[in-house]
Symmetry: C2
Subunit: 256 residues, 2 copies
């Protein structure tokens, strides 16, 4: 069923607007998914988590098929004037559709390939790494070291939907490293000065790769307790690779 | 020698401001390099190309060493009030230093590894690919298919200085592909539906890799005349990788 909202002060609209802040997202346990393609993926992949969908009048007029399928979907859908949509959109040229979804479960499955993101701070990097992780078969991601919020709008967009299909767990300290080791994982941390080149590495059955902060790299806590520290060989006068690039090359090498 | 500029209407300031437009950059054959670290790299790597450097009073006050070495450098350096610097800066929080440099020579050396960027349109991707190319030993880059301007401020910044150390050539049509083939190169184009996996590829002595546009991939003109089309195997429901990620993984595989 599709309900119309006509006031900027409607409580749904106020609630969506408040979700631009991380603290409010955490209080309410939900986040915004914006854009036609990614909302369609959310509806397909995590329908049970979607609280409601908001579309603008322009969107309705231009996307009859999507509108009709939303109407039949059983989801709560709100139709709003364009100016209200623009006021809650995070993008410069809003497509006119967003969904509010509950957070992913804070749980991983501990498969054979695990990615640990230690303090990744740039939203575009975080989103690209998550997208690449799905492509490389790394379905479990641990976030630690004050990594950027995966539910911030730019991260959500740049995951291209992978956010809905992978498992995430946030850790507030580094105790989980020892737990992973007793679960049979080898921990491979990437560092610029490691003595072992990625080319020489033989992936273990259960491998956990650690990618560090863009400026400071992997934290000492992890470097000192990891099993193997690896570097990516570089030519030229480059000091380091972009974090998403380093993550991609490393995951490609460990891909099963 | 360091000269002071006190007016926003000074012709140097007006000239720098005009360089934010691609058409003016092309008319004048020069571009802006902004930020302390990257200006230092430009001074080290391409001093002969630097027309002048502009610094703000705040920069001077906070960076005595850099100021003194600029003073001794023989470069033309202009000192301007902060509000003038802010008016010519491309960044939200200006560091207070920029240089105006001539374009790189439009010429490649035809080494054993060559990168062809066909229509890369996103500045961040372009910059990251150039940075990664240096690290992977791809020192020659051909730009074709209306790729984004490598001299736009965001590309320059995200190359982290690699722009000054690699060779670039812009091609307006695809005739160069046949020339490369007669020069002994094998052309490897990346495409989602290629029958050959990157894992099965044996790099040739002289290998040229082609990375395509973010949305449309490598153009038909190249796909039909390339020697080998390759794909990167992906898991999950990912349709494609980020262009910079695809470029990085492919160059890593071809790294000598």
């Amino acid at each position: 069923m599709i309900l119309e909202i006509t006031s900027k002060d409607n409580k749904i609209i106020k609630s969506v607007r408040s979700l631009s802040k991380k603290s409010n997202r955490e209080k309410m346990g939900c986040f915004i998914v914006e854009g036609k393609r990614i909302v369609e993926e959310a509806i397909r992949d995590i329908p049970e988590k979607i609280g409601y969908v908001i579309i603008s009048h322009s969107f309705k007029d231009k996307n009859t098929d999507t509108y009709n399928s939303l109407n039949r979907s059983g989801l709560n859908v709100y139709l709003v004037p364009d100016y209200i949509f623009d006021s809650i959109s995070d993008t410069e040229t809003p497509q006119g559709i967003l969904a509010v979804s509950d957070f992913c479960d804070n749980r991983i499955n501990k498969g054979e390939r695990l990615l640990i993101l230690d303090g990744i701070s740039e939203p575009g990097n975080m989103g690209t790494i998550i997208r690449t992780a799905e492509a490389m078969g790394f379905n479990d991601i641990i976030l630690c070291g004050n990594a950027v919020d995966i539910y911030s709008p730019k991260v959500v967009r740049s995951t291209m939907g992978s956010l809905f299909r992978l498992n995430f767990k946030t850790e507030n300290n580094y105790d989980f490293i020892n737990q992973l080791k007793s679960d049979g994982y080898k921990i491979y941390a990437t560092a610029l000065t490691s003595s072992l080149s990625l080319e020489e590495v033989e992936p273990w059955d259960k491998s956990a790769i650690v990618i560090g902060n863009e400026a400071h790299g992997v934290s000492e806590d992890i470097l000192s307790s990891s099993d193997i520290n690896i570097r990516i060989d570089m030519e030229g006068q480059i000091e380091s690779l972009n974090a998403a690039v380093a993550a991609a090359i490393t995951m490609y090498k460990f891909k099963k």
